[in-house]
Symmetry: C2
C-alpha cells in the first residue's frame, strides 16, 4: 500500500471521511458521509501521560474501529482530519507547542498517521477546525466569513474569510485568546498582560469572583471551598449580585474583543462556543449590546453574534470538511 | 460616449492608469504606466469647504489635466482609482462617513466621476489603498500578506492577505486605529477607550507629552506654547528624557497593537507609514523589540516590521493597482 501522501487527489473514494478531535482529556472520532452528515461517533480517554507515540497508536486504533464497526474499508475513506491542540507548524504536519502535550513538539503527527493508515491526513489547530465546522455546517451556514471564539479554560479562536481559514504567515493566525485588550491587566500564560483569555474565559470568571470574594463582598459563593467558574454562572442565574457583576464584566471584555475584531477583519458572523458558552443565555445578550453600541456605524446592528451550534463536534466537522476540500 | 461602468473588461487600453489621492488637505493625482511605474504627478489644495460637488469637479479636472499634459486620450486610460478618506459603503461607490468630509455622505462619488470621464473608476479607502500600494510595489514586494499602519493625527490601517484586501463584511475591515488595547485608557473619537489611535499617533504623542509637562516634569519642551508631536520627536532625537519616555511609550503600545495583529491575522510584513513614520528611526527599533519579545514563538523573530517605502504615493499606487486588477 502506498503512503497516504501519494494518494491525494483520488476522487473514487466513497466510504466517507473521518474527523478526529485530539483533546487534552478525550480522543474523539466520527465517520461522516461525503455530504458531512455525521454518523458513528466514538470517544475514549486521551491518556496523554502515556506519551505521544501511545496516543497516536490509540488514534489509529480509533479510526480503524470506526471503519470496522461501519463495515467500511479504510482505503474507501477519503482521509482523516485531526483537530489538534496548540499552534501547528506552517506546513501543518506537527504540533509545535501545546501546553497539554509537552512531549509532542516536533513529533511528525501527520506522517505517522498517514504511514499507519495509508490514507491522506489533514492536521488543523482545534479552534481553527471548530471555526471551519461552524462556518460550513453550523452558525455560519450561508455566510461568507465567520469568527469562532471558543471560551473554556482558555480562549481559542479561528477566522474564516471568503471561505478559507486565516492561518497566518507563521501559523499563529486566529490565536484570538491572545489579543491584548487591557495592556495593564492580569498576566497571561503567554507572558503578556490583559489578553482576551485573561478577561473572558472560565479562568477569568473564577479569578474575578475570587478577587471580589477576597475583598469581602457578600455572595452565595462565599461558602464554597471548591469554587469553579460554573458555580459563578449558576449563582448569576440565581440572581447573586457578585456573580452577576462578574459575568457582566466578562461579557463586557468579550464584547470589546469582538469590537476589535470587527475593526480588524469585520466578519459577518461571530460564533461563541466552548464550555463557557453553555451559559451563553447569561452573558451573550450583554456581549451583543456592547458590540452593537461600540462598533463603527457601518457594522452596527449588522454583525451577527450568535451561539456556536455544533458543540464539541465542531472541530471534527471542520477537519472532515478540510479533508474533503483537500482531496477534491 | 458610454458611461465607464459599461466599459469594464476592455483590454485594449494602453495609455496607463491614473491614481488619485483625495485628502483632507490636498488632492493629488499621478499617471502610471501599465507596469505601475509612476509618471507625471499633480497636486492642488482640496478646498473641501467648497463642498463635495466642487471637489469632484476639481478631481475630474485634475485627471483631464494629467492626460492632456501627457498627450494621452482619456479613453486610452484603463481607469481612475480614487483613494478616499473614511469607510466606504460595501459596494465601494461612496464615502459613508468621514470626519473631514461631512457633506459627502451618500454622495455617489464613483458614479459621478465615471459619468464625467467615461472610464471605469475604482474607489478605495485611503489606508486600504496604501496597504495595497505597499504590498504591490513597496515594503511588501514578494510577500503574501501585509498590514499597513499609517500613523498621523489618527491611525489608518489596511490588511492584505493572499494578495487581496480584507475589506470586511460591512466595509470596516482594517480600521486598525480602533483596535482596543487599553480598555480603561483615553477616550477615542469613536466613543471607545484605549484605541490604538489614542496610544500610537501624533495626537497620542502630543497628549502624553502635555500630561507629563502638566505634571511638572522638566523638559526642553516646557517653553513651547505651540507644542506639536514633531517637536516631541525632535526633542527625543536630542536626548530629552521626557520626550524619549513619551516616544518609548508610544512605541510600546504600537508594539502591543502589532502583537494583537500577529495573533489575529499573522501577516508576513507590517509596514509602518504616515507622517509620524518620518521619525521611525526613533521608535521603530523599540517596536520591533516589543513585538519579537511578545508574539507567539512560531512568529518570533520572523514577522517583518519595516518602514513603509512609498510615502504619500502609496495610496495612488494602490488604487492604480486595483484599477488594473479590475479591468484585467
Amino acid at each position: 500500500m502506498q503512503f497516504g501522501i501519494l494518494r491525494f487527489g483520488r476522487s473514487e473514494v466513497s466510504g466517507g471521511v473521518i474527523g478526529v478531535d485530539l483533546g487534552g482529556t478525550n480522543l474523539r472520532g466520527a465517520l461522516f458521509s461525503e455530504d458531512l452528515d455525521i454518523g458513528r461517533r466514538l470517544k475514549q480517554p486521551t491518556r496523554r501521560h502515556e506519551g505521544g507515540e501511545a496516543v497516536i497508536g490509540r488514534l489509529v486504533g480509533l479510526v480503524n474501529t470506526l471503519c470496522m464497526e461501519q463495515g467500511v474499508a479504510i482505503e474507501d475513506i477519503a482521509g482523516v482530519g485531526i483537530a489538534a491542540p496548540g499552534p501547528l507548524d506552517v506546513s501543518r504536519t506537527m504540533i509545535t507547542s501545546a501546553p497539554n502535550f509537552p512531549d509532542w513538539k516536533n513529533l511528525p503527527l501527520k506522517a505517522r498517521v498517514e504511514e499507519a493508515l495509508g490514507i491522506p491526513v489533514v492536521l488543523e489547530n482545534d479552534a481553527n477546525a471548530a471555526a471551519v465546522g461552524e462556518f460550513a455546517r453550523g452558525a455560519g451556514r450561508g455566510a461568507r466569513s465567520l469568527i469562532f471564539l471558543g471560551l473554556g479554560t482558555g480562549v481559542g479562536g479561528g477566522i474564516v474569510l471568503d471561505g478559507g481559514l486565516v492561518r497566518g504567515a507563521h501559523g499563529v493566525g486566529g490565536e484570538l485568546g491572545h489579543m491584548i485588550l487591557l495592556a495593564d491587566g492580569p498576566l497571561c500564560g503567554c507572558g503578556n498582560r490583559g489578553c482576551l483569555e485573561q478577561l473572558a474565559s472560565a479562568t477569568a470568571v473564577l479569578r474575578m469572583a475570587r478577587e471580589r470574594l477576597g475583598a469581602g463582598e457578600s455572595s452565595a459563593l462565599i461558602d464554597r471551598d471548591d469554587l469553579e467558574a460554573r458555580h459563578v454562572f449558576e449563582a448569576a442565574g440565581e440572581g447573586d449580585s457578585l456573580a452577576l457583576s462578574v459575568v457582566d464584566r466578562m461579557a463586557y471584555f468579550l464584547g470589546l474583543g469582538i469590537v476589535s475584531l470587527v475593526h480588524t477583519v469585520d466578519p459577518e458572523v461571530v460564533a461563541v462556543g466552548g464550555g463557557v458558552s453553555e451559559s451563553a443565555d447569561l452573558f451573550l445578550p450583554r456581549v451583543v449590546e456592547v458590540v452593537q453600541e461600540r462598533v463603527f456605524p457601518a457594522a452596527r446592528g449588522r454583525v451577527r453574534i450568535v451561539p456556536a451550534e455544533l458543540g464539541d463536534a465542531a472541530g471534527m466537522v471542520g477537519v472532515a470538511w478540510e479533508v474533503l476540500k483537500s482531496v477534491q
